[in-house]
Amino acid sequence: MSLQVELEQQRNVLIVRLRGELDHHTADIVRFKMEDAILRGRCDHVVLSLRDLQFMDSSGLGVVLGRYKLVKGRGGRMVVCDAHDNVKRLFELSGLFKILSFYDNERSALAGLEVVS
């Protein structure tokens, strides 16, 4: 069981696609790769694209919350798209649903960010 992190930069937006399972074991990869890309690529905003994320637990919530704080602290926004129902449920339970915006797909997520960037 593993996790792949795919990064793509579109202007000042970093798109992070997670494929596989996000738990305590795989959380560090996401943390380091995202941190590196945000700081080095000078990205303002982040789209977390979760279509291929099959599993996430509270360790995943911790990583997402940590990156959200980083992005927000730099004046940017982080949005989530394409999340499976089981992943959405965890965001709801933790209250993260209220501070992150959720979109159906990457295109609408990028369009949503366009308004503020």
Partner: protein
């Protein structure tokens, strides 16, 4: 027809084994023919409990052993996850949503809340230096057990049971939304 079955696993407190444990439990309970959502709930709670033992019980020391037992009795599964680690000083505080003893590790503090929400019954026992045991139960209203209900109680009873179930799920969702505020 009731299935009675059980299994036991002990493994090293290594983070690689979080995925192993949840997949093993999912495979074992699949004989009850659970829905995808039920499987996901079970995988999530096993992941939470095992992660707690590894991080908090054993402080990531791989020489620690995590014990996992699963029992199926009728349509109910019982899960016991136990460690012999450092234990929890105050369970009431540990169970508060968003509480974490290790904020420096970016823990969300949602583990207990998730386990309590996703399972029908949840019980934790712990004492400092004596480890922690988590016992959880969940009823699997599987396709198999629903089909068995129809001829016995009639379709009408089954439908009203169903709506009662839906009410319970909605109530549970409202409760969980309330607790996140």
């Amino acid at each position: 027809m009731s299935i009675d079955n059980h299994m036991k696993l002990s493994f090293a407190a290594r983070s690689e084994n979080e995925a192993f444990a949840r997949v093993a439990v999912a495979a074992f309970v699949s004989q009850l023919d659970p829905t995808l959502e039920q499987i996901n709930d079970i995988k999530t709670v096993v992941s939470e409990a095992v992660t707690n033992s590894i991080i908090h019980g054993y402080d990531n020391d791989p020489s620690g052993i995590v014990h996992l037992e699963v029992e199926i009795a009728g349509d109910t599964i019982s899960i016991l996850i136990r460690d012999e680690g450092r234990g929890i000083e105050d369970l009431d505080i540990a169970r508060q949503p968003l509480f974490t003893s290790r904020p420096e590790l970016e823990r969300s503090g949602m583990g207990f809340t998730i386990m309590e929400n996703f399972m029908d019954e949840f019980e934790a026992t712990s004492a400092p230096r004596q480890g922690t045991s988590l016992r959880m139960k969940k009823r699997i209203e599987s396709k198999k057990s629903i089909v068995q209900l129809i001829p016995r109680q009639g379709l009408g009873a089954w439908i009203s049971n169903g709506s009662d179930l839906r009410r319970r799920v909605i109530l549970k969702m409202r409760r969980s939304k309330g607790s996140s505020r």
